[in-house]
Assembly symmetry: C2
DNA sequence: CTAATCCATGTGGTCGGACCACATCAAGTA
DNA sequence: TACTTGATGTGGTCCGACCACATGGATTAG
């Protein structure tokens, strides 16, 4: 077993033993190296992996944001992984979109009308009505869909949705350029958003699921989603 | 921007430009360091991340399996990420199980009866009838469910399912110890497997989805899935 | 006494060099 | 011909050094 894997195992054990909590700090790299009797290099490689996994964040300097602190951002890891594999052309974009439809349909069908995330979603829709630019509109769109997903109360599904979105973010931005009339599309999207949110708020999960599936698939179809290879 | 991120970006660009294909090799660490005018340390940190993401595999020595070669194992990355976050108690096991039910139900409802993966699944069921030990039974069970998922033809869903399974693998193994009568449970699971595969083979996706959901939820309920915190 | 300045301290980030273990392959040898 | 041996190239590990940065206390100017 390689040395950095040993370090990784030690740190993971600290996690499962509850000795490292969210917001807590790992020992300093030099201290950890001495404690585990390994080189600082190996400690750093382990920390690099944890950082890529969205489990810790490394900060220089001293004080508040310094040191290596424990965070909880699973979407970071999933997003980076999907993005990399998409870059290698081994994850068909069509599969990613299909998975997004699957997860999001489920999420809205399970969303609880009393969830505070829905109130946030409503605010986002108002902002989208205020006539933002294309880029801003898309950013709000992402947040709206994530808020919808959050209302289902399953953090795994939320993280996966966020990561799918991140993985095809650049791709989606490219697609908007294929649209014949952005203003018309934006108007349609806004209306569909209202309908989806309304269905969720009235507790009609089935209708919300159908609407959101049509919403996503319709968008990619209009923008010219290429056939899978 | 940190140096290893620069290296990461360069390599990712090679991917998206199609200059690095599956089975291909990255330049040697020392060569890459010189080419990008960075230290070998930074190159190694970037490679460590790619390795954790399931994008490359590093091998020592020379010849066939040596060097850093490009692979495509997205499930590795997703699984490791979920496992780590589960260890930090920030991913409720209940959410993971729920997501597994969601993905697997969808997969079997979409499975194509003519898929070769189903034939493989049938073989696995025969092996499970041959009376393997508990550990072996569980290993076959994993492969059976993955084969079912593969029949849906969506690699993203397959990868996510595999990773969910990996994340709670140790946990599931613990659960079996809670079972009052393993032989009885194993017999029931085998019967349920047959019913699921039969539903898929006859093209009854709806029934297959209901069966698989009940199959998974029933197992965790029997084994005493703790309430989410 | 107050306020600004300066510096000691500790953190991660980067670098270059060295050595090791390993696997292969070619040259040399029995 | 068959075996041995060494050269070569790969990743794995370690060490020591220096840098940039942020803080906090000591020092100094007002």
């Amino acid at each position: 077993m390689r040395t950095h894997e040993l370090v990784l195992g030690w740190i993971e054990k600290q996690f499962s033993d509850g000795k490292l909590l969210l917001g807590g700090r790992l020992p300093a790299e030099r201290a950890l190296a001495e404690q585990l009797q390994v080189s600082r290099t190996s400690v750093r490689e382990a920390i690099r992996i944890l950082e890529a996994m969205g489990v810790v964040r490394a900060g220089v300097g001293s004080g508040k944001d310094a040191g290596t602190v424990v965070i909880a951002e699973p979407a970071t890891a999933l997003g980076a992984a999907l993005r990399l594999h998409a870059a290698t052309r081994h994850l068909p974009v069509a599969d990613i979109v299909e998975t997004r439809v699957l997860l999001e349909s489920w999420a809205v069908s399970r969303a609880r009308p009393e969830s505070p995330a829905l109130a946030e979603a409503a605010v986002l829709l108002d902002e989208m009505d205020a006539g933002p630019g294309t880029e801003e509109f898309l950013a709000l769109d992402v947040r709206f869909h994530l808020a919808l997903a959050a209302a289902a109360g399953n953090v795994v599904v939320s993280a996966m949705m966020a990561s799918l979105r991140e993985a095809i973010e650049g791709y989606a931005a490219e697609l908007t350029k294929n649209l014949p009339d952005w203003d018309a599309t934006a108007g349609r999207l806004r209306a569909e958003h209202r309908a989806i949110l309304d269905a969720v708020n009235t507790g009609d999960g089935g209708r919300a699921a159908r609407l959101v599936a049509a919403h996503i698939e319709g968008y990619y179809r209009e923008a010219g989603l290429p056939a899978s290879e």
